[in-house]
């Protein structure tokens, strides 16, 4: 009995530093942000705190009827819907290539494909702006060679988001690729050999051996990627400033504009909580699908 209590106390003692840090740097700010989201903190309150009013849930109600907020949600879901499958496909494709026995100089390719992940986003965004330039860009030049007319990637409301998706996929696929490479190495070679002896083609081996073997890894990667992509901000901030015609305003960009452009911190905090609810909902849904799909 006494020993158990003692070890319990020791346990609490050991986690105390971590709990204290998480409390001070996570729970307290989150709580403060929630309180802020129930007020109308704006520039008048910044001038004089007596101008702060408690408004209850009005920020939330106003947001839910604000068409621009819904457009930001729509833009973000469009980015996630297009970007996540492309990103995972690119990562998986690159991982399969790296895993192939035919490939030489594996460490070199692994580093080269991972390089975009560790580059500075702002610096590569500047380069991508040149690549995507409507008149002088390399991408339009290449498309022109195969007879596709110039696309105003960052100036046309219909193309701006696809351009951002291409950039984001290029920037991020290396990270998931590394996870997939690790996952592929855990699939026993016996299974491939058995399949080959049974006469399975390469495609069938991929479908019946590789994919099931990667199941949990794919679930993890898609969870992380969706959560990351829902927080789209830096790409439109650097490349388009939300334009053209609000086409690349994401939820986080909307929050930034409310918070730091207009200094409506109350509204901005409410946006943050709505984004949290959205992400929580998507993740729960994904886990449910993952479980029904015969996951672990």
């Amino acid at each position: 009995m006494r020993g158990q209590i003692g070890s319990q106390r020791a346990g609490w003692l050991f986690v105390a530093p971590a709990v204290a840090i998480i409390g001070v740097f996570f729970f307290v700010p989150v709580l403060a942000a929630f309180v802020l989201s129930l007020t109308d903190f704006d520039i008048y309150s910044l001038a004089d705190l007596h101008n702060l009013r408690f408004v209850g849930l009005r920020n939330y109600v106003d947001l839910l009827v604000n068409p621009l907020f819904w457009q930001a949600v729509g833009n973000t879901l469009y980015f996630v819907g297009l970007g996540v499958p492309l990103s995972i496909a690119a990562s998986l494709g690159a991982a399969l290539l790296l895993d192939s026995r035919l490939v030489r100089f594996k460490p070199f390719f692994r580093t080269a494909l991972f390089a975009p992940v560790v580059t500075t986003l702002v610096a590569v965004a500047v380069i991508w702006r040149y690549l995507l330039h409507a008149r002088y860009g390399l991408i339009n030049y290449a498309l022109g060679e195969i007879g596709i007319g110039p696309i105003d990637w960052l100036g046309d409301p219909h193309w701006a988001m696809p351009a951002i998706v291409i950039f984001a996929v290029w920037k991020n696929f290396g990270y998931n690729m590394i996870i997939f490479v690790a996952g592929l190495q855990t699939i026993p070679q016996d299974l491939y050999e058995a399949a080959r002896i049974d006469g399975a083609s390469a495609l069938r081996r991929f479908w019946h051996v590789t994919l099931p073997g990667l199941g949990p890894v794919i679930l993890l990667v898609s969870l992380l990627t969706i959560a990351g992509y829902l927080q789209l901000f830096a790409e439109p901030y650097v490349m388009t400033q939300g334009g053209p015609g609000q086409a690349t305003v994401s939820v986080l960009y909307f929050m930034y504009e409310q918070g730091f452009k207009w200094w409506n911190l109350g509204v901005a905090s409410a946006v943050a909580f709505l984004l949290f609810v959205l992400m929580l909902g998507v993740t729960v849904l994904q886990l449910a699908i993952g479980r029904r799909g015969g996951g672990p």
Binding site: Y44, L46, A47, D48, A134, P244
Partner: protein, 428 residues
């Protein structure tokens, strides 16, 4: 006192005594922090050595902010107490920073100044710097919007002179549209810019906000006339219902005759002369904005220089503002940037005053009118344009659009009204 021993030694014992007496602050190397935006911030650095020579002991540290992030940066700096000693500020931002109590009132300094005089400035521009009866900024360079037009096409359509009134303008646009055919237009009023509609609205006598700036006044007869005229241009097919991002290369399209009238600002004086081919320079010209009946008002834009309230070096900051307001500094700045000088005497020099294209701006600036001075104004103007865009593209009626703009403006001004009702002004 021993910072510059070599100079002190060279001047000698006696001179050293008088030097110390001359420097009232007694601080060698006072550093003045100055924030300026974009191209202006880059160019103004080259003007600092002259100021530093005239003001020994003061060193200016210019920090350049990109325009896109400048507003957020200033607010963040205010919240964090990191504002500089003086700063460039777009004059539409002044009401907001005055409401914050961030900028210093300058009336007394102007009253005692030999350099800065209200009478020497364009009255409309000067008024943008006066908030609730106090002067908070000194115009640095000025800006307004007016007509850039195709002189040759207007002549071929049968008009020797640019239109001076709305009726004449509509007539000229109709004639040009007939001339250029169904594939082309007479005017370009980009749907993503609020300035053309705002210019038309400022030409009316009705103010755009009512109830001491606490409510929108967009259902006034005046604003509806302006909105109706704007809608009419699109309804008759005289302008394409497009944003400027959909135009591709504006200058090529202008040269092709896709549109003949374009409402824009002074930076396009340089752009048109650079981007149109040398042998076609005679096709473009500028004219003051036509008004409801005769030449009309325009937007009072531009940037001012402000002294920040938290600065401990206000006297030196003011001397720098005076330095930048002197005629040679104003004309020099125009030469380097193309920004139009705020002082009328600076326009006397032939290169600027003798240029007929710049002269139209001079005439327009005399009639420049300040937009409402609510801190929320920029957001209201943005909403106004979003509704106007819907009116043009989705066939909303003028009355319904005006009512919708009022509704959105009133929602944005809710806190402003509350402040007025509770007599909570800006901390003076």
């Amino acid at each position: 006192m021993s910072l510059r021993p070599s100079r002190r030694a060279a001047l000698g014992q006696l001179a050293a005594g008088s030097l110390a007496a001359c420097a009232p602050s007694g601080r060698d190397g006072e550093v003045l922090r100055f924030w300026a935006m974009g191209r202006e911030g880059e160019v103004v650095q080259s003007m600092m050595p002259a100021f530093e020579r005239a003001n020994p002991g003061v060193r200016v540290e210019v920090q350049q902010l990109p325009w896109s992030g400048a507003h957020a940066k200033l607010l963040t700096a205010f919240a964090g107490g990191g504002l500089p000693d003086l700063c460039q500020m777009g004059n539409t931002w002044l009401p907001e920073f005055t409401a914050l109590g961030a900028v210093e009132r300058l009336d007394a300094r102007v009253a005692g100044s030999q350099v800065v005089r209200a009478a020497d400035n364009f009255p409309g521009i000067w008024r943008t710097n006066v908030v609730d009866g106090g002067l908070y900024g000194i115009p640095w360079y000025v800006d307004s919007r007016l007509l850039f037009y195709r002189r040759d096409l207007l002549a071929r359509a049968g008009y020797a002179a640019p239109p001076a009134s709305w009726a004449q303008w509509l007539e000229a646009m109709t004639a040009i549209k007939r001339l250029v055919g169904p594939q082309n237009y007479a005017a370009l009023l980009p749907l993503n810019e609020y300035e053309p509609l705002l210019t038309l609205a400022l030409q009316q006598d009705d103010p755009l906000l009512r109830d001491r700036g606490g409510r929108g006044n967009f259902q006034s007869p005046g604003f509806k006339r302006a909105l109706g005229f704007y809608a009419e241009i699109f309804r008759r097919g005289l302008a394409p219902a497009a944003a400027d991002t959909q135009i591709g290369n504006l200058y090529d399209e202008f040269a092709r005759g896709y549109f003949s009238f374009y409402i824009s600002g002074p930076w396009n004086l340089g752009e048109f002369s650079r981007r149109l081919p040398a042998d076609r320079q005679d096709i473009w010209m500028t004219a003051p904005m036509p008004g409801p009946a005769g030449p009309g008002a325009g937007i009072a834009g531009g940037s001012s220089l402000v002294v920040l309230k938290g600065s401990s070096k206000k006297a030196a900051a003011w001397r720098l503002i005076e330095h930048l307001s002197q005629v040679p500094a104003q004309t020099g700045f125009w030469t380097l940037t193309g920004d139009l000088p705020a002082r009328r005497d600076a326009w006397a020099q032939p290169a600027l005053g003798g240029d007929p294209r710049a002269a139209a701006f001079r005439a327009q600036l005399e009639r420049a009118k300040a937009a409402p001075q609510a801190p929320e104004w920029e957001r209201i103007a943005t909403e106004m344009q979003l509704v106007a865009e819907q009116m043009v593209t989705k066939g909303m009626s003028v009355d319904a659009a005006a009512a919708e703009i009022d509704k959105r403006a009133d929602a944005l001004l809710e806190k402003h009204r509350w402040m007025l009702d509770h007599n909570r002004g800006a901390p003076a």
